[in-house]
């Protein structure tokens, strides 16, 4: 075969192969990204929500991300899921630090905060408590709540960070009201802030 033809074929195959591999790598990159590059997703303060999680109307990126991060999620009429891996200022939730989540209740039948590690797994807790929810939360005198994420014991609304390398907080709203369903972005989501060492206990 002519050398020029061989070279041309090699160039063609190399470019085509680079395209194919690049497509897979780009898909993998987008599956790991949390940069708000998905039209199905909203970012509200520290929180992210995918409004079409579990829905047949979801785009392929949503479907794949939910499969990896929250397999068997219910569609939003049943449960709305909010996720946070950063604080209000955009700092990653470092498990070596202490964090507080403060806010008020939600318009739904039942709500719950759960802490997961970098692999979306529950974190071992000496208190055997893995969530703070609308039934077991101990409110502040003004009716608000303060939940503490820490490696050290930190009062009634403590969620243990254990040996996690990263933290992901999930807020679930079960059976949200129609007003919430009509305008998810209007939900008053809690603040997440770092707590200075020694000021953890409520």
């Amino acid at each position: 075969m002519d050398w020029d033809v061989t070279l041309a074929l090699l160039i063609f195959v190399a470019l085509a192969a680079a395209g194919a591999v690049g497509g897979v790598l780009f898909a993998r990159h987008r599956l790991r990204s949390t940069s708000g590059d998905n039209p199905d997703e909203l970012k509200i303060g520290a929180w992210r929500i995918n409004t079409l999680a579990g829905s047949s109307a979801a785009n392929s990126l949503t479907r794949a991300r939910i499969a990896i991060q929250a397999l068997l999620a219910m569609h939003r009429q049943e449960t709305i899921y909010f996720f946070a891996s950063q604080d209000d200022r955009g700092q990653p939730l470092d498990p070596a630090q202490d964090w507080e989540i403060t806010g008020r209740g939600f318009e739904c039948r039942w709500w719950s905060f759960t802490l997961y590690d970098q692999d979306f797994r529950l974190i071992a807790s000496p208190s055997q408590r893995y969530s703070v929810h609308s039934d077991n939360v101990v409110p502040e005198p003004d009716g608000s709540y303060r939940i503490v994420l820490s490696r050290r014991e930190a009062g009634a609304n403590w969620l243990a960070c254990g040996e996690a390398k990263k933290l992901i907080v999930t807020l679930r709203l079960y059976n949200p009201t129609q007003a919430v369903l009509d305008d998810v972005a209007s939900v008053k989501l809690p603040s997440i802030r770092r707590v200075e060492a020694g000021r953890v206990a409520a």
Partner: protein, 176 residues
């Protein structure tokens, strides 16, 4: 010229492989989840397995809710419709039945507030299949999938009430 053709082919393959990867990921993950669930119940589809309260040692899937106890069933509609029925826990306990297609879509949910009584009966049928049914019909876009029943556990003492409801669940193939 050949470089231009290569670039065009590369761009096309980039797009195709990107779309294909996103399309395949949820199906592959459901394959794994269904196989894992089946292996834990000796390979038997169309039967429910009742889980333990999720914790860092017992969790079976990513991001389980630690407040819920799950009953799960890998369904296969190749031999006919699947009839699922049972009794709910007493009023005040959140209960729901969710059905997931093989691409992870949650195509059906029924919760305790939507039921007129404390019992339920649902027929899962492959979309496009016809026939009479004595209960509400949920049309599955795929032949296989997962049925998940969630029940809330507010405190450890709730467990016997939840277990009683779980034991009432019946799951039978109705021959086409």
């Amino acid at each position: 010229m050949i470089t231009l053709a290569g670039l065009i082919a590369g761009a096309l393959l980039f797009f195709v492989s990107y779309r294909l990867t996103l399309h395949r990921v949820p199906i592959r993950i459901m394959d794994i989840a269904e196989k894992r669930m089946l292996s834990s119940r000796t390979g038997e589809a169309n039967s429910f397995r009742h889980g333990q309260p999720p914790n860092h040692k017992t969790q079976q899937i990513v991001m389980p809710s630690p407040d819920l106890i799950y009953s799960s069933c890998v369904y296969d509609l190749s031999a006919g419709d699947l009839a699922i029925s049972g009794t709910l826990p007493p009023e005040g306990y959140y209960w729901s039945l969710s059905l997931y297609a093989h691409n992870t879509d949650n195509f059906f949910v029924l919760n305790d507030r939507e039921l007129p009584s404390r019992s339920f009966s649902v027929v899962v049928r492959r979309k496009g299949r016809s026939g009479a049914a004595s209960a509400a019909v949920a049309e599955s876009p795929t032949q296989t999938g997962i049925a998940l029943i969630r029940m809330i556990q507010r405190k450890p003492e709730d467990l016997p009430i939840i277990r009683a409801s779980q034991q009432s669940i019946r799951c039978d193939i109705v021959k086409a």
